[in-house]
């Protein structure tokens, strides 16, 4: 592959945008635009979730990428469940924050981030699958993909046992330990935050009901009734303002910190999976070592060969993994930072708006003598 071909293929990661989503029955179709880094011409393609899965599989099964198993693959969000087929509760369980927000906006944002992360990755961005995904007018998802690396963490118990296997390298052992711990904590925090946000939405609804009930208290029978009606209407406006505030606050939560926590949780999982793959390789290596030692003279040469090859693979995976982990730490911090700042700024702005509006109401109410 010459450099010409490379540059012709490379995409400008930050230009990838999901500009539209349409729903047809249970299927969502996403409109994705992107630009190559060499030109400003944009390409627009239409993809479904199956296409994304195809892409992910394609990335897993790249050949001639040494140490591919050491790569932390950007996590693909779970399959979207259009609410026509399933209840809100199920969608929330499956997708968490990505199920919230209007018109799949948050979900699209998550997909967009996924594509951007793939395109930003030194190794993965070169994959033909990515190029095809972003540029081919045909939908690639129908093609039968090669089976590549499977995510094994969700597999049988005997595989799970390997996760606890002691490491030979201190760096990796500590990474594995902290990964397990942090991953659980982030998941927990994300769930708790989701509870808070859903609660705020319920509160907004309750305010809406209260506001409506107040609106119905209008009565013109006599001067006092008129006065009372005015009060009720005033209060109705105030409660309406409170409701709108809660809606805004929860929208802010969802689109910034919620999304950020969700992403962080999934990325933690991806890191854990990579570490698990390496651990499996370690187990394989240790088995090969034992076999080699115990081999009968006639098999010894073969066993040694296997042992050497496995050692080589393991070393490459470990060195790739080390790099990946460093990048991961750097990237996640900057990602969380951005989300936290964004969250704070949005909430601050909303609080200021709300405060100004309520103060106005207060002044108006105080103006008439009690």
């Amino acid at each position: 592959m010459g450099s010409n071909e490379d540059s012709a293929q490379s995409v400008n990661g930050s230009s990838i945008k999901i500009t539209d989503v349409t729903q047809d029955g249970d299927t969502l179709t996403f409109a994705i635009t992107s630009q190559k880094s060499s030109s400003s011409a944009g390409v627009c393609v239409f993809r479904t979730y199956e296409d994304f899965e195809w892409l992910q599989q394609g990335l897993f099964s790249q050949e001639d990428v040494p140490g591919l198993q050491g790569v932390i693959f950007p996590p693909l969000p779970s399959k979207p469940l259009p609410s026509t087929s399933l209840s809100q509760a199920k969608a929330l369980k499956q997708l968490g924050f990505l199920a919230l927000g209007d018109e799949w906006m948050i979900y699209c944002k998550a997909l967009e981030l996924y594509l951007q992360q793939v395109a930003a990755h030194t190794t993965l961005s070169k994959s033909k699958a990515l190029y095809s995904f972003l540029n081919s007018s045909e939908s690639p998802g129908k093609q039968c993909g090669k089976k590549g690396i499977l995510n094994r963490l969700s597999q049988a118990m005997e595989e799970m046992r390997k996760e606890g296997h002691k490491d030979v390298d201190e760096f990796f052992q500590s990474e594995r330990d902290s990964s397990t711990n942090l991953s659980a904590l982030f998941k927990l925090s994300t769930e708790k935050f989701l509870d808070v946000v859903l609660n705020k939405q319920r509160l907004a609804l309750a305010c809406g009901h209260f506001s409506t009930s107040l609106h119905l208290c209008v009565n013109q029978d006599n001067p006092t009734a008129v006065a009372f009606s005015k009060i009720c209407l005033k209060l109705s406006d105030i409660i309406e303002a409170v409701k709108i505030n809660y809606e805004k606050v929860s929208d802010n939560d969802i689109s910034t910190l919620g999304l950020g926590l969700d992403l962080e949780s999934r990325y933690q999982e991806a890191k854990r999976e990579m570490l698990f793959r390496r651990t499996c390789k370690l187990v394989e290596l240790e088995t090969a070592n034992r076999n080699s030692e115990r081999a009968k003279p006639n098999k010894k040469a073969i066993m040694e060969g296997v042992q050497k090859a496995t050692q080589k693979e393991f070393d490459i995976i470990s060195s790739v993994a080390k790099q990946e982990i460093e990048h991961y730490h750097r990237d996640r911090v900057s990602l969380l930072r951005d989300f936290l700042i964004c969250w704070c700024e949005k909430q601050l702005s909303t609080a200021r708006e709300s405060s100004a509006l309520l103060s106005q109401h207060l002044d108006a109410c105080k103006k008439f003598a009690v």
Binding site: L185, K192, V196, F228, H329, C344, A351, S355
Partner: protein
């Protein structure tokens, strides 16, 4: 005894004037002990709320006719020479209407409340028409023990009215005393058409928990709820121009010892209302349909029916709001904890600090939600609840009028019969029986006249009462809305502070 105590001067002094009382020690005999700074504070928004007239008389004079548009900018001029000056000594329309709202909105983090296990002193304040009266429900439980223990409330009154023998005085009262007072007033005044404010409900469950010494959130909340309810009840009662003059009321406020009210089961708010309802049923069962000569009454009754339904609906809405708000507080606290754990486990220093800061911010926000829930509850929910009960009392009064009318009608029927009987006797030639018949006629004529007078009196009273009630309602709601808005604004401003403090932390993540 009681009068030696200096009642805390103002509502905003509540947080500093609590006395610590030893178990079993009589409040009024103990030596002055140091005040505790950790007593529950009122919400951080101004405690100098409008209802307590914390600045004395000049704020509370209100004109009788509320004719201006409520939302107009004009302020009212009040003349101190106006006839309102001597309000309660006349039977005329009540001029000064004091809004009835909780004076101190206690937003305890209840652990603070229980720092001295119910020995703490809480106060209710009533403001009696230029009278500065703080009902400080000093509940110092544990007179007696176990199930015999009871909560006592200290009622402190400051007054300038000559009705009372002193300017300042405090008394100790039990819940059953309040119920006793209400039952006496109801029996004296309801049948002549006065709207007697209903007393708070008994609650066996709540009280038992407190007695058993269950020091938890629900017990503290229950006690505060009750204290606040008693405060509002007393405020409404003494705001009534006729009721405040009643010797039972004066006795209640002044006398050190009160005869223990018995059979409070029957005297509870619910009990009285049951009596009223029974009366209403009895009236309805009588097939006498009242010929309403006065359309006003018919209209009013219908209006109150509608209002009842509306208020109940509003009350339900607010309860739901309070519930969600409390839930939010719990969920926020839970999130704060998990964020704190994250902060501890995170390796990256700046990120770890930011996450810990996040946890702190969320904790503070949780506190805000909690306080807001209290505001929701004590401002709106309780107000609406009070008014739902008040309307039942109003309906009761209307029914009393019907009863009075029907009594009058019965008297007329009786008189007619007596006249007919007498006419018959005229021809029967039985002189002594005739005399008796004539006497009876005289008797029943008097009854008819009395019946008519009673009916007119009750009608007149009701008109006046209803007018007063309507004005009170408007005032009460107005005051509450302003307070509520203040709490909302305060919450937002606190939020702004928290976010402004957090932003640099987030930006500092390298």
């Amino acid at each position: 005894m009681a009068e030696d105590r200096e009642p805390p001067p103002l509502a905003d002094a509540v947080q500093t004037d609590f006395r610590e009382v030893e178990e079993g020690e009589d409040l009024f005999v103990s030596t002055v002990s140091t005040l505790s700074p950790t007593s529950p504070e009122p919400a951080s928004f101004p405690a100098e709320d409008i209802s307590t007239n914390s600045n004395g008389p000049k704020q509370e004079i209100l004109l009788d006719d509320d004719q201006e548009d409520l939302f107009a900018e004009a302020t009212e001029e009040v003349s101190l020479d106006s006839p309102e000056r001597e309000p309660i000594l006349s039977d005329g329309p009540s001029p000064a209407i004091t809004p009835v709202t909780p004076t101190v909105i206690i937003t305890p983090r209840v652990d603070a409340l229980f720092d001295r296990s119910l020995d703490e002193v809480k106060q209710i304040s009533i403001n009696v028409l230029y009278l500065f009266s703080i009902i400080q429900a000093f509940y110092f439980c544990l007179q007696g023990d176990g199930m015999n223990a009871y909560m006592a409330y200290k009622v402190t009154t400051k007054t300038s009215l000559s009705l009372f023998s002193r300017n300042e005085f405090s008394v100790k009262r039990r819940f059953s005393d309040f119920l006793g007072l209400h039952s006496k007033l109801a029996s004296k005044y309801m049948h002549i058409g006065y709207i007697v404010p209903p007393a708070p409900e008994k609650s066996i469950v709540g009280m038992t928990k407190v007695k058993v010494g269950k020091e938890d959130l629900s017990s503290a909340e229950f006690v505060e709820k009750r204290r606040s309810a008693l405060e509002r009840y007393l405020m409404r009662t003494v705001n009534h121009p006729a009721l405040v003059k009643d010797p039972d009321v004066i006795q209640f406020l002044e006398n050190t010892e009160l005869p223990r009210a018995v059979s409070t089961q029957a005297l509870s708010g619910a009990g009285i209302l049951r009596m009223v309802n029974k009366a209403a049923d009895a009236v309805n069962k009588m097939t006498i349909k009242m010929n309403e000569s006065d359309a006003w009454f018919e209209e009013k009754q219908q209006q109150f029916e509608n209002l009842d339904i509306q208020l109940r609906k509003l009350h339900a809405s607010v309860e739901s709001l309070v519930c969600h708000r409390k839930e939010l507080s719990v969920n926020t606290a839970s999130f704060a904890k998990s964020a704190a754990m994250l902060g501890n486990s995170e390796d990256h220093t700046a990120l770890s600090r930011a996450l810990s800061q996040l946890a702190e911010v969320e904790e503070k926000i949780d506190q805000l939600h909690h306080e807001q829930a209290y505001a929701d509850f004590y401002l709106f929910s309780e107000l609406l609840g009070d008014y739902v009960r008040l309307i039942t009392a109003v309906k009761g009064v209307f029914d009393q009028r019907m009863k009075t009318w029907s009594k009058w009608q019965d008297a007329q029927v009786m008189l007619q019969r007596k006249r007919e009987a007498e006419a018959k006797l005229q021809y029967a030639n039985k002189p002594d029986k005739l005399q008796q018949a004539k006497d009876e006629i005289k008797e029943w004529e008097a009854k008819v006249q009395q019946g008519e007078r009673d009916f007119e009196q009750i009608s007149k009273n009701i008109r006046r009462e209803v007018e007063r009630f309507e004005k009170q309602r408007v005032k009460d709601f107005k005051v509450v809305i302003i307070k509520y808005l203040e709490s909302l604004v305060h919450t937002q401003q606190q939020l702004i502070k928290y976010w402004e403090a957090f932003l640099p932390e987030a930006k500092a993540i390298a």
